[in-house]
Amino acid sequence: MGGCLVVSELKGVIALVVVALIATSCAEDAGDTTAAGSASGGECAEIQELIDATAAMLPSERETFLLKKAIEDGDNVSLYTELNVRDVDEIIDIFEETYNVDVDLFRAGSEDVRLRVLEEAAAGFRGFDLIEIEALDMTIIDQKGILAPASSPYREGIIEAGLFDNFTADRVTYLVPVWNTGIFSAAEAPQSFEDFADPLFSGQLALEDSDVYWFAVMVQHFVEEGMTEEEAVDLFKTIAANSSITSGHTATLELLIAGQFGITPNGYSHRVEEFKIENAPIEWLPVNVPVVAEITAVAVACSAKNAAGGMLLEDFFLNPDTTQAYFVSVNRTPANAAQQAEAFGPGGADIVPLRGDVSAIVEDFQKWDDLWDEVVRSG
């Protein structure tokens, strides 16, 4: 009898779970509708009022107005970001001290943040007020109608390539060749990207495996220079065949410093500068190959719970006197044009970075991702 009871209970529970899940799966469609609705102005209406109300204000008036509203809202400001823990802690501390408004933080890699935001939006969940991730991931999110129009007065100072309808660049990261100075001298550093295919670097190369954007922009550049797309992709495959594939930009640099690898074509310049301060044997200058600039941007959610707080924090990220200045102080490159001109080029680097058309790459993302996968698997 006991057995029957438990077995029937077991079946009952299984049936209940299945029914509940079917119900939730149907709810996903509803969630999607909500997200789509936000694009057409449903949930954006609330934040649009704020944007309209502050449109004609001076930055200082806007700051006072938004602060008052943010405190009235009562909710903490929710920030989703890919910025590293040390920097984001510092920025939040200054923001909280300045405004006495608390920030809730979710920090993860740009792709993980994107995955979470898309899941939350599909369920109609109001997760973030402000988001800070790579422009590529931001474009994907923007296509779902999750972002409110960008309205910060500090957009005026931002580089032109960093201005999008619903998001704004706050910093730029440069992908550059980096080598171990104990293994290669500056004179041996590649004089062109094709040089990476040189047998000199065979067994010494490390290629980081997550840079689809870098790859797409580089291939487009080579096509503009006269190569066919196939030739450009083949060049990458030849280089990858010479390389160890690695995961994580900083981890790659650590192994480079340790001497496991001698050179990488796609390292972060600001990280190299940080390591150089501690006398680590790595260098990225002079740079003789095309350099790709990766934009990281901020945006406020259409359905922000504390919309005024989100806008206030967005201004804080773009303000040349606050976060933009902080980026300069930690060797990062701010998106503010004037500060960037000053900050960029430590050691006298004189380069014109390539900036890809993010929207076009997102349109063809599947193609670029598959091609990059082929390249990585050639390694």
Binding site: V6, V7, L21, T24, R86, L115, T246, H249, A251
Partner: protein, 575 residues
Amino acid sequence: MTSNKAHSVTPTANLRMRRTLGRMLRYLGFAAVVGVTVYLVLVPLVFLIWRGISAGDGSILGNIAEAYSIRGTGDMVLNSLFFAVGTALLATVVGASLAFATVRTNAPFKAVLYAASLVPLIIPGILYTIAWIFLLSGRIGWFNITLRAVGLDALVVDVFSLPGMVIVEGLHLSPIAFLLMFAAFKATDPALEESALMSGASVPSIIRRVTVPLVRPALLASLLLMFVRGLESFETPALLGIPAGRWVFTSQIFRSLNTYPVRYDDAAIYSVTLILITVIGLFLVTRANRRGERFQTITGRGFRPRLLDLGRWRWPVGVAVVAYFLIAVVAPLAVLGYLSLLPFYMPPGAEAFSSFSLENYATMFDIASVGRAIKNSILLSIGSATFLMLLMAVVSWITVKSKMKGRHLLDSITGWPLAFPGLVLGVSLIFVYLRAPIPVYGTLWILFIVYVTKYMPYAMRYASTSIIQISSQLEESARMSGATWWSTFRRVTLPLMAPGLVAGWVFVVVVSVRELSASILLYRQGTEVFSVVIWELWEAGQTTQLAAVGMTLVLGLTVVVGIAYKVGANIGVRG
């Protein structure tokens, strides 16, 4: 007369009513336990299957064919199997040998072994793998440099290869096999070994012909657990496998989830494949262990464990114990300790030693989330381990001791989460609890659900391995003496299961603190856990600070394990 009759009927009726009530309560309790267990497992599973079939044109076969036609799928399956089988063999052979040496023999140095052998388990996968990169990578690995220096180039293994992955994962998992086998050896009556010894059998022959058959259920369970754990492992394939071009199921699932549009269908189909492999494995182990009473060694008859004299094998075994300790425990910790004192990695030498400082430790608590993470990790790991071991104690009683129909299915269900890759579990739970009317999203409860679900199979193996060895005679005696099911369970079964339950508890505490791949998707401000902080530091490239946090974590967990060990000693974990 009437009054007398009333007197004689009422107690019987009362007794009957109390018995009926007791039985009903028991069934309700069982139903609740089974309901919770099944719910926890089926929620992510149903989600997985639904996502697997609802993508594309909605055709199951079409989606499966598409997932398996991706370039390199054949290699991926072969790599996964090689990696998982190699890991299972290495971990089980090492873990079982160490457990045998510790519990049943007079091997020297074994006193330190129980705590020391747990250290690899305590070190989070990402840290252990990083440490091994510095020990075994082609050019800079300490072991490789040493081997080359003494002319043993033939023994050099590059960590970025399938054998390298097997070594790292196998050694990292060996403590799990150790804990499982420790409990099994502890509960096995050594009388048979003693008889064999007195009949003139040699030690190797006793081990092969008496000891191993006696602990066969635990040995098979261990092999299965290690195999599936190898299939499900993420950190080693990601950090070592991808650079080596050795893709496995989990790295492919990671890729499917990180692309856009997200390929939920591929991730789901690969995950379901892992679940099917697990179910088949569980079925085979259950079948092999079906006649459980053959392995019952805790009977009403008492026994006093006596140590096997290894004779001339004593010192070779002692040397092997020390070698394990040096390779699997000391060396990785030495690398982490060394890293934690440096501003960035430098080869050992004068320059490195002159750069030593404690700055990484001093600045560790400047990170806002570290304090919260410590509190949350302690709360979650202890909470989920305690809940899970109690839940599985009852479930294992149902599957092993009761005659209920469907018990084999229940047993199998508890094993399925073995094959849920953490990332997939994370995405599933986000999906479900964003929509379900249970407000756990963004709270510690959702992490609690993850840990309880993910580690259920291990808890179940510990619980069922313990209960399978308890003869029904003891419970029957208690029931015959008038004890209720609950008081028999509480006062007879649970205490007898205690060594296995404590070992399982220690295990779940430690692996919960380490869990990363699901936690990273589910945490929010205020619910950070330790592994997330470590991962953040890795992402930020603060490897040396991460080593400092890691060393602190290892120290903290060692204290927890030490306390559990002491508590365990009082209830029979240690003889």
